[in-house]
């Protein structure tokens, strides 16, 4: 197998030295077999319940196989408002989270590197604090105008997403020489805003995507806070609908999973395609 550094795409592949075949090929084969076994077990663990749910959703109450449970979803009472509310909340929460977290993470790395550990600790708090306490906390500080609107829930979700978003951004910032890039930009005439826009954000693309993906996934699947605040998001609607028609309810759960998955794939492939384009342009 040719040993080629993954970044050194400009190097002639044919000149790459061939790695000597490992003496005793069995040693190389054994981990590969284990990898396959672990992958298979993990796959089964996730796929068997999904398969069971799919089978259940495809059966009618009379025991016949039908896709009626799926086709009837958009016509179910309350589904479309719940779906659009969940999407709106995902969008607003992501915007709030990134607007708060990006400047904070950049500032901490650039100006307060000594406080990085403290921030690591602070940002993990939403995971250990019960959601009810977070809700009360947000209610205390939220502007009066927001109370009674679903955007209050977006504020609560922003707190909940903080540990994941901050950690993604922190990892991205650790991977670049932020101080030097910032100073290089400033020496060339770039102010703070332009430097963040043109230098920091493009180099944090992977971290931004990770933060977005995690925030969106969290919002689309969150039940406790929405239920406590009495907003009918998709997870809340599924639970309440379950009591009337369990086949449709399982079908919606599966569909929500697929929609979330497709959405996350779309976000990830956006970043993947852009980086591929950049590499291809470099090779041209």
């Amino acid at each position: 197998m040719a040993a080629v550094a993954s970044r050194d795409l400009g190097a002639p592949l044919l000149e790459a030295p061939a790695a000597p075949s490992a003496p005793g090929g069995r040693r190389g084969r054994t981990p590969r077999v284990w990898r396959f076994v672990v992958l298979l077990l993990a796959g089964l663990y996730f796929l068997v319940p999904l398969y069971a749910a799919l089978r259940f959703a495809l059966k009618t109450s009379q025991g016949r196989t039908s896709i009626t449970a799926f086709t009837s979803i958009p016509h179910q009472q309350g589904f479309m408002p719940a779906f659009t509310l969940s999407l709106r909340l995902a969008l607003v929460t992501t915007v709030i989270t990134l607007l708060l977290m990006v400047p904070t993470a950049v500032y901490v790395h650039l100006r307060l590197p000594g406080l990085r550990r403290l921030f690591d600790g602070i940002t993990i708090l939403p995971i250990v604090i019960p959601p009810v306490v977070l809700i009360v906390g947000v209610l205390q500080v939220a502007p009066r105008r927001l109370k009674g609107t679903p955007y209050l829930l977006a504020l609560e979700y922003a707190v909940l997403a903080m540990p994941f978003a901050y950690r993604s951004l922190d990892a991205g910032l650790r991977a670049i020489d932020l101080k030097t890039l910032f100073e290089a930009s400033r020496s060339l005439g770039g102010g703070w805003f332009k430097t963040i826009l043109r230098v920091v954000l493009p180099n944090l693309r992977a971290a931004l995507l990770a933060a977005t993906v995690l925030t969106v996934a969290l919002v689309l699947g969150e039940y406790t806070m929405a239920n406590l605040d009495q907003y009918a998001t998709v997870p809340v609607w599924i639970v309440s609908f379950d009591q009337d028609n369990s086949h449709v309810s399982v079908a919606v759960s599966l569909l929500a999973l697929v929609v979330t998955w497709v959405f996350l794939l779309a976000i990830s492939s956006l970043g993947w395609r852009r980086s591929r384009r950049a590499v291809r342009a470099g090779l041209a």
Binding site: R7, D177, R186, S187, L188, G189, N203, A281, G282, L283
Partner: protein, 386 residues
Amino acid sequence: MTAVTAAAVGASPDSAPGSGTGTASGSPVELVDLCRSFGATRALDHLSLTVAPGELVALLGPSGCGKTTALRVLAGFETADSGRVVVQGREISRVPAQRRDMGMVFQSYSLFPNLNARDNVAFGLRMRGRKSADRRAQAAEMLELVGLASQADQYPHQLSGGQQQRVALARALAIEPSVLLLDEPLSALDAKVRLQLRDQIRALQTRLGTTTLFVTHDQEEALSMADRVGVMQSGRIEQIDTPSALYENPGSPFVAEFVGLMNRLPGTVDGAGAAVLGRVLPIRNQHRFPLGTSVDVLVRPEGLGLTPAEDGRHEVVAKTFLGSLTRVSVAVDGRMVLVDQPSETAARLVPGHRVDVAVVGATVLVADSTPPAAVPAAATVAADPS
């Protein structure tokens, strides 16, 4: 002489600032009485420096001497506790870095990873609101200048370290800065590339006539590139002068030992001079040693001579072949002393031979006496001349 530092000593009258530059279109720079402390550490201690238009001045010194802090204060990345920064007659001490009009090349690779070489070079022009066509033309011209026109579409991770620093140089020069700042730009590169890039930077700086401040801890780099070299210690410039003047007339033992090789020989203060190896030679530096004090006399390897003698007082310990010269290590009163000899003469010497060592220079420097280091066993060292 237009460029003088308040703290500098021993500047020779023949030093000519900017003499190495073809044109002198750059801006004059003055650092006036700068002080900067980090907690209890004083990084700059009343440092003053004047750089003439088009001149390349190197700040040379050991780690922690304050040379990088001086550069960063000039760039605007640090603020001095007191003192002034003046460029082209205008005080810019409170002007933010992005409005100082200075190009900088950093020690670590600082190209923007998301931009290709062309866009990196054009970045400063974009920040200045120049039109796209202008930017592309100027970037292409600068890349041509550093010999990387064919790499314009490459991203930083596709360039070697030397190429990245050349792009960084092109990027810094593309904005036609009033001052170019070089913060140890060669230290991350391997020896061969460093040598090539050193010459390229100097040639380019000479051609463009940009006033340049260069910070390094590598004396060879400083002496080979700069019009003048300022040797720094503890936040002050010990001495600033032309490379040859620094080497030949160091003003203090610190400068003498930091720039080039220096032997320490045991001696005694004797009237106006120092008694060493049977001669009394005038002392060049100021000192407060009373008559009869034991001191170390500082002499360069080429300031000593060797005479083979069967009953000689000293013993050859080792030889290092350096091409036309051979560096002979001789044990002198329990100390290892290096003597440069023409290789033809040194060929006759073998470790274990007895020799007499004498000072051939006219004056010497004296410093506090230090205990002699152990002399290793005799051995021949033949460095590969290639």
